[in-house]
């Protein structure tokens, strides 16, 4: 993992929702060819971190760089070039419901390339074959099952052969077999297409199966980043709580508690 420049560099990232601070000075970097899993419980800030990595939100403070481009400062053209080199598979798939599966996969190609229609058709069908959805191109997204939607979303994400692939909660809402298949698919993609992959998940099993390195987030802070084995052996109590599914021990601050109960504008 001694890549000269990391593909993703995040420095001292702060994020706020209103008055609530969701990310506290997060430092994060991912090198080429790595499969990085961002792990954390609900409300740990992992989805927010992903939104910042994708440039969907402006940082409160700090910088987010993809391929060395600062997303908050980049011009429209520059941002466009970055976006051509990343692929994103959203949690619910986020396929455009007005288009067929095939048109969804072809969408990035139609927008960014000047290929003729038959080439686009062949390329999008190829991507559907990669995710084992060959022959499903004419169905509408609403006609697919949950696992198929995720795979179709993955096919769209890799349509432009991105160097960097983001995957939000690949196994959420899927049965164990289908989610294991998706994990295999992710590993295969990295080996076959040499992609760098960032996966956000709270599923421990799938995280340890696919991860080269894991970043553990908790309450908006990075607890640790390291190889999967190191994370498993980490002495940190909160990491072990997460790994062993132990409920958190919530310490009650009496003053803050009273204030929350009595304050008029929380």
């Amino acid at each position: 993992m001694n890549a000269p420049t990391p593909l993703i560099e995040v420095e001292r990232l702060d994020a706020w929702y209103g008055r609530r601070r969701v990310l506290h000075g997060v430092d994060f970097s991912v090198g080429a060819g790595e499969i990085r899993v961002i792990m954390g419980g609900s409300g740990s800030g992992k989805s927010t971190l992903l939104r910042h990595l994708l440039g969907l939100q402006r940082p409160g403070a700090g910088t987010v760089k993809l391929f060395g481009v600062d997303l908050a400062r980049a011009g429209e053209r520059e941002l466009q070039e970055v976006r051509k080199r990343i692929g994103v598979s959203f949690q619910g798939g986020a396929l455009l419901t007005s288009l067929t599966v095939g048109e969804n996969v072809a969408l990035p190609l139609r927008e960014h390339t000047r290929l003729d229609e038959s080439t686009i058709r062949i390329m999008s069908r190829l991507k559907l074959e990669v995710v084992d959805l060959g022959g499903f191109q004419d169905l509408m997204p609403s006609q697919l099952s949950g696992g198929m939607v995720k795979r179709a979303a993955l096919a769209r994400a890799i349509a432009m052969d991105p160097r960097l692939l983001f995957f939000d909660e690949p196994s959420a809402g899927l049965d164990p077999v289908v989610s294991a298949e998706l994990d295999e698919l992710i590993l295969r993609l990295r080996d076959a297409l040499r992609m760098t992959i960032v996966v956000v998940t709270h599923e421990l099993e799938s995280a340890f199966k696919i991860a080269d390195t894991i970043t553990v987030l908790d309450a908006g802070e990075v607890l640790m980043t390291g190889p999967a084995a190191a994370v498993r052996a980490a002495p940190n109590e909160r990491i072990q709580d997460l790994l062993n599914r132990r409920p958190r021990e919530v310490q009650v601050d009496a003053d803050a508690y009273l204030r929350r109960l009595t304050e008029e504008e929380a």
Partner: protein
Amino acid sequence: MNALTRPLAGLGRVTLEALGGVGYAAMLLLEALYYALFGWRVGQRLRLAPVVRQMREIGVDALPIVALLGLTVGLMLGIQFIASLSEFGAQSQVVLAVAKSVTREFGALITAILVAGRSGSALAARIGSMSVSQEVDALSVIGIDPVRYLVAPALLAMLVMLPVLTIVADAAAILGAALYSAPALDVTPGAYLLHTMSLLDAGDVWQGLSKSLVFAVLITLIGVSTGFSVTGGAEGVGRATTRAVVLSICWIIVVDMVFSFFLNR
């Protein structure tokens, strides 16, 4: 003290939110126009196909209902004007009254209210459900600006089709008035229509059409901006749809009044 400041704070918050909404809509308008004209320069070329599709959905599909409503409103105006003008023995002036009021006012107003209910709500619902299911985010990360992909086609289609529909409504309403008034005035409907044409000047029709352009912008912007600001799942989408229709119709009526005032001074 608190009892005094809280309503004030509430008022301030509502005002700020309203101002924010207007600013957001204005920004959407500028961006949509920018992408329509110069999008190709930044790799965001506006395609013709979605514009044509929107024109069909907003315009062509609404033709029958617009014509029917226009005809009905024309009949109603004929009935009312004959009744009220005959009190002064001035029934013959019904031709003038209908011609002016339809072209300047009712044609554009009826069409806009109908399209707000049909297409403004559809825009809000479509964009709202797309925001909820992260489709808008997906467009952004693919490198497709949501404003170019979702707003610009709708805006262009609305700007073309609302005036077209308004003309159809004008014609249908005048025809409707002719059907009722011509027998009452002892003339043929053909003669009634010819008389109408001789009384109308281009300025009357323009007044209606210029309003319909403003209504087109209002309906689109209110529809898409409520759609983009949807939060809270399916219920939020429903709320946004209702809000889009109610807001559009309120704005249309108020703006219509303001325009009528200034255009008739």
